[in-house]
Subunit: 142 residues, 2 copies
Amino acid sequence: MTDGPGGAPKPGMSPTFPTAASTDDLERGSTLAPRFDGDGLIAAVATHADTGEVLMLAWMNAEALQRTLDTGEAHYFSRSRQALWKKGETSGQIQQITEIRIDCDQDAVWLKVRPQGDGGACHTGQRSCFYRVVEDGKLVTR
Amino acid sequence: MTDGPGGAPKPGMSPTFPTAASTDDLERGSTLAPRFDGDGLIAAVATHADTGEVLMLAWMNAEALQRTLDTGEAHYFSRSRQALWKKGETSGQIQQITEIRIDCDQDAVWLKVRPQGDGGACHTGQRSCFYRVVEDGKLVTR
């Protein structure tokens, strides 16, 4: 972490979001007051801005959400690596945000994105991470 | 919990799902091997089977997932109430499943559903829980 003078948040410093004062504020207000869970995360679902297909589901901490809002490109938090993660940084599958929505109790966000690079979102090479259907208790790819 | 002889899972007994033997099995196999988190939950996103709209994001424990598979109607686990929850049981907004998908690392499911009752999914009266867009850091309902 740098220790320079103020301005932009320093790397590693977590941005803070307000807390809703009441359930009514949370559900009907105009204040973005995300409710991060005990691990400091909220769920984020990304759909393709053009096709509507669900591409992936991942998690964001406050920093990932703030960077997503600031840059217009999706940032997540990797639970396995415990690290901030800009989608596409290595794969080229940058997700340009066209819209961000938040749910009633502000513990989940919905990103409409336009994937760059090869147009996919999954590290397996599939376009969407949800490439398998559950049929009779088994998984079928299609 | 009852202590009777075997057969169908007893109320309160958690069904068990297999664990994938390898990353390859997890990502490319045909075995449903959901990876529940430390709280025993996976994320579930529900979209409208006809419009594709994201309706809600919630959580499932093993029992909720098994009941969803068995009944064709969405069951979730309420983190706030720490209880199994059949969607629509009181509101009438039963979610009939048309398709269930699971993601690459099997820690999230995507349900395509047809909401019954008034056709909505949100307790606020909105059709989708994601009725607010983040614009310039503020929430706008539309």
